[in-house]
């Protein structure tokens, strides 16, 4: 995949990774904004139906990310920023799951005040994603070693 000049290889994987991110982070941010109190007219219960969009985005990115890692293992694994990115993603997904069960797992979340935990999770989620995106972008600029032979 690394050597193929075909647009179908490396660029396609990057494109998938970007689109996956758009839907995963985008949907998550929209939900976080709602939980934080914006557009509060949106009922909470139906939002659960958007969770599969995020999970699809996550798996597309996990797989495309794995492909990128296999193509350039040394570049990623010798770069501490890569580990920071992964850690932030793990935390962001854990936050999402907790939000999912705490707020959206309630069979009737509407008509009662949001659990305090919900707002904290939503705010944290936003920060974590900003961090993960920044770390991901910085990977292109901070790598120390491109290939294993160097």
């Amino acid at each position: 995949m690394r050597e193929s000049p075909s647009l179908l290889a490396f660029p396609a994987v990057l494109v998938l990774h970007t689109v996956g991110m758009g839907f995963l982070v985008g949907t998550n941010v929209a939900i976080d904004l709602r939980v934080l109190g914006f557009a509060s007219g949106i009922p909470l219960a139906p939002i659960k139906r958007f969770f599969p969009v995020m999970w699809l985005g996550f798996w597309v990115n996990a797989l495309s990310g794995l492909a990128l890692l296999i193509a350039y293992p040394t570049k990623a694994l010798t770069n501490w920023v890569f580990y920071v990115k992964l850690a932030l993603i793990v935390l962001a997904m854990a936050s999402l799951r907790t939000l999912g069960s705490q707020v959206f797992g309630d069979p009737e979340p509407d008509g009662k005040p949001l659990p305090r935990m919900g707002r904290i999770l939503a705010g944290t989620s936003l920060l974590l994603w900003v961090g993960a995106i920044t770390a991901g972008r910085l990977l292109a600029y901070t790598y120390v070693q491109l290939m294993a032979g160097e």
Binding site: L7, P11, L14, V15, T18, V19, M21, G22, F23, V25, G26, T27, N28, V29, A30, L33, R34, F38, A39, S40, G41, I42, P43, A45, P46, I47, K48, R49, F50, V53, W129, V130, I133, T134, G136, R137, L138, A140, Y141
Partner: protein, 146 residues
């Protein structure tokens, strides 16, 4: 732009966050119009759109910064040309949405289906913005193609 080493990566990160804001709000509205999460009433969901507009403004600004930093690179790049074209078409689609179907769509409540014209506009919107993301990512591979 080219004087401070951190400006470009910072702008890129902002550009990605901006696109997430746009896709997350406009995209979810499009998905609802296409029938997902049907118990959501449309007007409240539409209240998230200003955040999408914020995302668009962030991306327009960082986009102008990118272009200003290296205009020669972008004008000779076919992915960039098509990206701008698709954004323009998406803009026309937005106009059509507000002029033709918004009033009727906005009134829809939980469980109500959107009329076919609205569905077409939503599908076109989703397609165009996903295409814009793809083309944006391909810019780096299409230098000297125009």
């Amino acid at each position: 732009m080219n004087h401070y080493v951190w400006v470009w990566p910072a702008s890129e990160s902002l550009h990605f966050f901006g696109l997430s804001l746009l896709i997350g709000t406009v995209g979810l509205l499009d998905l609802r119009m296409l029938g997902m999460a049907k118990m959501l009433p449309l007007a409240p969901l539409h209240r998230l759109i200003p955040w999408g507009i914020l995302g668009f403004i962030i991306n327009l600004t960082t986009g102008i910064l990118f272009f200003a930093g290296n205009p020669f690179r972008y004008i000779h790049n076919i992915a960039f040309a098509f990206k701008l074209l698709f954004i323009a078409v998406a803009g026309v689609n937005v106009l059509v949405f507000y002029l033709a179907v918004f009033r009727r769509t906005e009134a829809l409540g939980p469980g109500e289906d959107t009329p076919l014209p609205a569905k077409i506009i939503a599908a076109v919107s989703l397609f165009l913005w996903v295409a814009v993301m793809c083309l944006g990512r391909l810019i780096t591979f299409m230098d000297h193609t125009l």
